[in-house]
């Protein structure tokens, strides 16, 4: 306490050097530290009425609010991601604690693993065609809904009547669980009581019927179709919102210049919604690279694989945890390349705009 008095005195005299004023006794230091870890209402008075309290209060708040979320995030997200790179260089089975460091052996094995490349081929197919088909359909329907209506004199473009009802129905698959979708489509493709074969028979295309839609070479296209089916509605809603944000004056001007609907779309709507399209493309690409639930539930054991389902088999059915994480790293690299391409694409188009 004696020190405190002298400090106060020197402050009052105005001659004390800054470090001397800020120096705390060990007891005060303990109090300040305690205050940091105690709830605000238990703050000791000595600390509460100190002029440094405001700062301490703010820091305490920041730390208290950040520590729980960051801790959970570090333990369950960041640390597994980092560990993955290490495990990918081991021969760990996953079922005992013994493993040895094997360098790039797993990657070499992957390079020669035909099944892995099959799965990768399917994943890349979903990654490339999934967004392309889904976004094209989404754009088409969204444009029809916002600008496909009968031409009225008062407005340059008008939506179709009942646009809202269409959007509600199109959005259905988006709120369904992916498990529901996979189970449902597994049955739809089924040769025993499924409706794909039945429909083909009804329209006279009996030769197109398949004994095993999801087991053979057609499986990847079936999965692609379901993937697109489940996301088109999402993009219709997304793009409709983006399109109705475009001011009508722009359309008016283009009408006066004699633009048709196709020109309107390609010269105005498309470039003006490009930012949304690009975001949607990235999102859809990530969905395409997943596809785990669809393949895991819908496709029979002898059918196709995508990279995530192949990884799952290796890790949790064949006890090759090390190799599986190497596959995970490969998947990560593909994601990275895809994201980089999308970023470059965005930059170029923004300049054109």
């Amino acid at each position: 306490m004696a020190t405190t008095t002298t400090e106060r005195e020197s402050t009052a005299a105005g001659s004390g050097a800054v470090p001397a004023r800020d120096r705390l006794t060990w007891r005060e230091r303990a109090l300040f530290t305690a205050a940091f870890f105690l709830p605000p209402r238990l703050t000791p008075d000595r600390v509460r009425y100190d002029r440094r309290y405001r700062k301490l209060d703010q820091h305490r708040f920041i730390v208290w609010f950040l520590v729980p979320p960051v801790l959970i995030y570090l333990v369950f997200v960041i640390s597994p991601f980092l560990q993955a790179f290490y495990y990918s260089m081991t021969d760990w089975s996953g079922f005992d604690s013994e493993f040895s460091f094997t360098g790039f052996d797993n990657y070499e094995r992957m390079w020669h693993d035909e099944k892995f490349w099959d799965a990768m081929g399917n994943s890349v197919l979903l990654l490339v065609l999934g967004p392309l088909i889904t976004l094209a359909l989404g754009l088409f329907f969204a444009f029809m809904l916002t600008a496909g209506g009968r031409h009225r004199r008062s407005e340059p473009v008008s939506g179709i009547r009942g646009a809202n009802v269409y959007k509600i129905v199109y959005f259905f698959p988006q709120v369904l669980s992916i498990a529901v979708i996979a189970v449902m489509w597994g049955r739809i493709y089924s040769p025993h009581g499924g409706i794909v074969n039945e429909t083909l028979g009804a329209v006279g295309l009996d030769s197109w019927k398949q004994e095993d839609w999801l087991g053979g070479d057609l499986a990847r296209w079936c999965v692609l179709a379901v993937l697109c089916w489940s996301f088109v509605g999402f993009y219709v809603v997304l793009f409709s919102a983006a399109m109705s944000a475009i001011p009508t004056q722009i359309y008016e001007a283009s009408l006066l210049d004699g633009a048709g609907r196709w020109q309107m779309f390609s010269r105005l709507t498309f470039p003006l919604t490009w930012d949304t399209i690009r975001t949607g493309w990235i999102y859809m690409g990530i969905q395409g690279l997943d596809g785990f639930a669809l393949v895991n539930i819908m496709v029979p054991e002898h059918g196709m694989d995508v990279v995530p389902s192949y990884l799952y088999k290796k890790a949790f059915q064949e006890a090759q945890a090390g190799y599986a994480t190497a596959i995970g790293v490969a998947l990560f690299l593909v994601t990275l390349v895809f994201a980089l391409i999308m970023l470059l694409l965005g930059r170029r188009d923004r300049i054109e705009m």
Binding site: D57, F61, I62, F65, L66, P69, V70, I72, Y73, F76, V77, P80, F81, Q83, A84, G94, F141, M144, G148, G149, R150, H151, R153, I160, Y166, V169, Y170, F171, F172, V175, L176, S177, A179, V180, A182, M184, W185, R187, H192, E198, A202, V232, V237, L238, A242, L256, G260, Y283, I286, L289, N296, I297, P308, L311, Y312, A321, T325, G328, T335, L336
Partner: protein, 290 residues
Amino acid sequence: MSVTRSDGDTRRRATSGGVLNVFAHSFLVLWTVLAAGPLLWVVVSSFRAHADIVAHPFGLPGELHLSNFSHAWRSADLGRYTLNSLIILAGSLTGTMLFGSMAAYVLARFSFRGNRLIHLLFVGGMMFPIFLALVPLFFVLDNFGLLNTRQGLILVYIAYSLPFTVFFLVSFFRTLPTGVQEAATLDGASHTRTFFQIMMPMARPGLISIGIFNFLGQWNQFVLPRVLNVEDADDAVLPQGLAALMIRQSYEGDWGALYAGVTLAMLPVLVVYVAFQRQVQSGLTAGAIR
């Protein structure tokens, strides 16, 4: 002069608009059939007997086979799976919203050393495919004794929902006016109080959007429980239960019960969605529009 020209223009386009209108409508109707048809087929088939379904996949129910539903609910345990899903969701959604908004608020409204780094850490998490982490995550949970437990699944759901939640809410909190926060501090409100009683209510629209997003994402989550919650079939969540039901019914040969199960799983969600379609649509697309 310009008036006559634009008049003629309008008339010409009115006819082409008519053609386009028919064209547009037929495509829109076609997709309506494609989008809703499969769902309708499942619902209709859920009232039919197995033999009928296999013989005539497209038929209408002759007599209502309500036993399909009792079968799916009781012997396939869909009731239990739904309860499991609800319990886990109650914990994980609360946790996600609480921790997500806490972190986002601090990151959006306070400047301190490491702020940008932590923000980047969260946002960067969106770039990593979950499958990269899957194997190590399994063993992290195993080490903590959290494997095949509800607490474990809840924590993992929270952790993997945080990146997008934080990313979304940071930009939302930044748009809120600073004046209110300062006024509250001047009036002597503590930081915690300012957050819970002033900032959270102000951020309600954003919280609802991201809440709906997380609700559906966690309710429909399949990969994480498929890997981290497999020991006891009684602990399965609804998506797992459906996948199991599909396998079981293909052995038992009773598609009617499977369709009844799928109907039970999807109808409540669809009803809630139609009732709140505007909020649900904007909630799910919120992240992409911004």
